[in-house]
């Protein structure tokens, strides 16, 4: 049997071997190759971390359900619900950049029914390094990652600094800022009007907020529109950063996949600068989400900047499923034949590189493209 397997391996090219894997198993391998190509190192994380770290930064995780337990020393531990935070905690305060990627299973408790779930997450982080270059490289890798999933994809980009300055300018401060951000995320311009009336926001500033929310489509046109809406130095510099990013992506000829859209803004307590989200047509939610999170590093007392993204591989399980029409190519029915006869029959069929499943009689639960009775094969031989 060993000879049979090595024979098959020798016959098939590496590429064919890779293609045997279902798409959703190919993807993490493709992405690993991509990240390694750009010099990223794999980060390996412990399953358990002290719970305190997550509790202090609960809103970074955007969900409540962390699975906790007490260790023998009485310390409350968490089953890792996230990787980014652990990378940030362990990042060394140094001027040199740190490029890491990960493929880890994280554990969460679903808010709906309290069930525990295990989620496969892949992502990368660029910590430290040059501010402008790091975001160009990370956004480029986000685009390449999406391309590895589906040739039809879109990466929405926005800038937290732009929206933050705009809200400051309009006098929308801590108390009602969250409500306003929620409406922006929903593209809910009719309720932004109501919100502005209720909070006595200047009507011109309200119109600017609504105009920013309404921006979508072609990046270059959208960027011109955004620049025309920039009301102060911070907003102008944010628009400039987006423009620089666009120029950098044009060098990779992937700029057509970028869109400007402010509905993707994230939690301003952690994120600043550029944020982005990736979509493919076959999933109802974003499959990639990332951004610059210098604020999270400050919370951990680190001086570096950081930008990164995560891919929600769970979202892709369904989208990447290859259609399953048959359980096997060939079903070999051996009836009363001896094991020796069955094995020699398999030997003669397997040269055609098909999947063969040997069964004594036709099973009800197995669908096969072809059913061969052993008598036909032995007869031929």
């Amino acid at each position: 049997m060993y000879n049979t397997i090595t024979a098959i391996i020798n016959v098939r090219e590496h590429k064919t071997m890779f293609n045997i894997l279902p798409l959703r198993e190919q993807l993490p391998l493709k992405l690993r190759a991509l990240y390694e190509l750009y010099g990223y190192k794999k980060y390996r994380m412990d399953k358990f971390e002290p719970y305190d770290m997550y509790r202090e930064n609960k809103s970074f995780l955007k969900y409540e359900g962390i699975i906790t337990f007490t260790n023998p020393n009485g310390r409350l531990m968490a089953l890792k619900p996230d990787v980014t935070m652990s990378i940030v905690k362990n990042a060394v305060n140094s001027a040199e950049s740190n490029k890491l990627y990960y493929n880890e299973n994280v554990f969460r408790m679903q808010s709906t029914n309290g069930e525990y779930s295990e989620i496969n997450q892949m992502g990368l982080e660029f910590i430290g390094g040059d501010y402008n270059y790091s975001q160009a490289e990370v956004v480029l890798l986000a685009l390449h990652s999406l391309e590895a999933i589906d040739s039809d994809y879109i990466l929405n980009v926005a800038h937290m600094g732009f929206i933050g300055s705009l809200l400051d300018y309009a006098g929308i401060t801590n108390g009602n800022r969250e409500e306003c951000l929620k409406l922006i995320k929903q593209k809910n311009t009719h309720e932004i009007t109501e919100f502005a009336n209720k909070n006595y926001i200047d009507s011109y500033k309200t119109e600017v907020i609504k105009a920013v929310v309404g921006i979508s489509g072609d990046f270059e046109t959208a960027l011109k529109r955004l620049s025309s809406l920039a009301l102060n130095a911070n907003m102008i510099s944010a628009a400039h950063e987006l423009s620089e990013l666009y120029k950098a992506m044009r060098a990779s000829k992937l700029e057509k996949k970028l869109q400007l859209d402010f509905s993707i803004i994230n939690d301003p307590d952690y994120y600043n600068g550029i944020v982005f989200q990736g979509y493919i047509p076959s999933t109802p939610r974003a499959v990639l989400s990332g951004g610059r999170y210098d604020n999270l590093l400050r919370r951990f007392g680190k001086q570096q900047n950081a930008i990164g993204f995560a891919l929600y591989l769970g979202e892709l399980d369904r989208a990447l499923r290859s259609p399953v029409d048959y359980d096997t190519d060939v079903l070999l029915i051996y009836g009363d034949a001896t094991p020796a006869q069955v094995i020699s029959a398999l030997e003669s069929i397997k040269t055609s590189c098909e999947c063969v499943r040997a069964e004594k009689e036709i099973p009800n639960s197995i669908k096969a493209k072809r059913i061969i009775n052993i008598k036909e094969v032995i007869g031929n031989a």
């Binding site: 039809d152 879109i154 929405n156 929903q186 593209k187 809910n188 009719h190 309720e191 979508s216 489509g217 869109q259 859209d261 509905s263 979509y279 493919i280 047509p281 999933t283 109802p284 939610r285 974003a286």
Partner: protein
């Protein structure tokens, strides 16, 4: 093909009339039958008729690209969708109502019968009022009459049902009307057509 989820019933009929007035008519919709999916290949649209409270689920999970749903349901289920337009149809309010002449006894938890347990809980929490929620699925007005609850938290359109059951509005909490919603991923790939629909619908409301 653009998939549009509409709420079955009166509101859905009005919304369909609105969509056909901007050029998205679908002749098979006028036939009197029990089909739930209506397709117009020439207009490139497909209408799905679903239970009003399910519209947001169809859109959030991408079974429909866009849909029309009451704000009351959006407040209750908080789906992760875009809310693009207020169609100003199916206007009503979410209100607390009780038997005529009822007075609140704040020393004990208030028993609230409702179809909207989340909105009700949020509202009473914001009022610092301790409550006990009784989730019902219909004929909410019956609850205070039979002493099942002290008050009801429900939608009020004209107030006729309340009046006929000797109930009256105690406080109005929030206004509701039909909203156009869109799936966040589908919107990215069909933004042109969806934005065009919004633009044209705006001229009709």
């Amino acid at each position: 093909m653009l998939n549009i989820a509409l709420p079955k019933g009166r509101l859905g009929d009005k919304v369909y009339a609105l969509f056909s007035s901007i050029g998205f008519e679908c002749l098979s919709m006028n036939e009197d039958n029990r089909k739930l999916v209506f397709e117009s290949p020439e207009k490139n649209v497909r209408y799905l008729l679903v239970k009003p409270s399910d519209v947001a689920i169809y859109v959030e999970r991408g079974a429909a690209d866009i849909g029309v749903v009451g704000k009351d349901i959006l407040l209750e289920t908080q789906p992760d969708v875009y809310e693009l337009l207020d169609l100003k149809l199916g206007k009503c309010s979410l209100a607390v109502a009780a038997k005529n002449g009822w007075t609140d006894d704040i020393s004990i938890p208030l028993r609230v019968a409702t179809k909207y347990p989340n909105v009700a809980a949020n509202y009473f929490t914001s009022q610092n009022r301790q409550i006990e929620i009784i989730k019902l699925n219909g004929s909410i007005e019956l609850a205070p009459i039979l002493g099942l609850s002290d008050v009801i938290f429900d939608i009020v359109e004209t107030g006729t049902t309340l009046r006929e059951n000797n109930l009256s509005v105690y406080s109005t909490v929030v206004q509701s009307s039909a909203r156009l919603i869109a799936n966040k991923s589908r919107y990215q790939f069909k933004a042109d057509i969806i934005n065009e629909i919004c633009r044209q619908l705006k001229t009709k409301i």
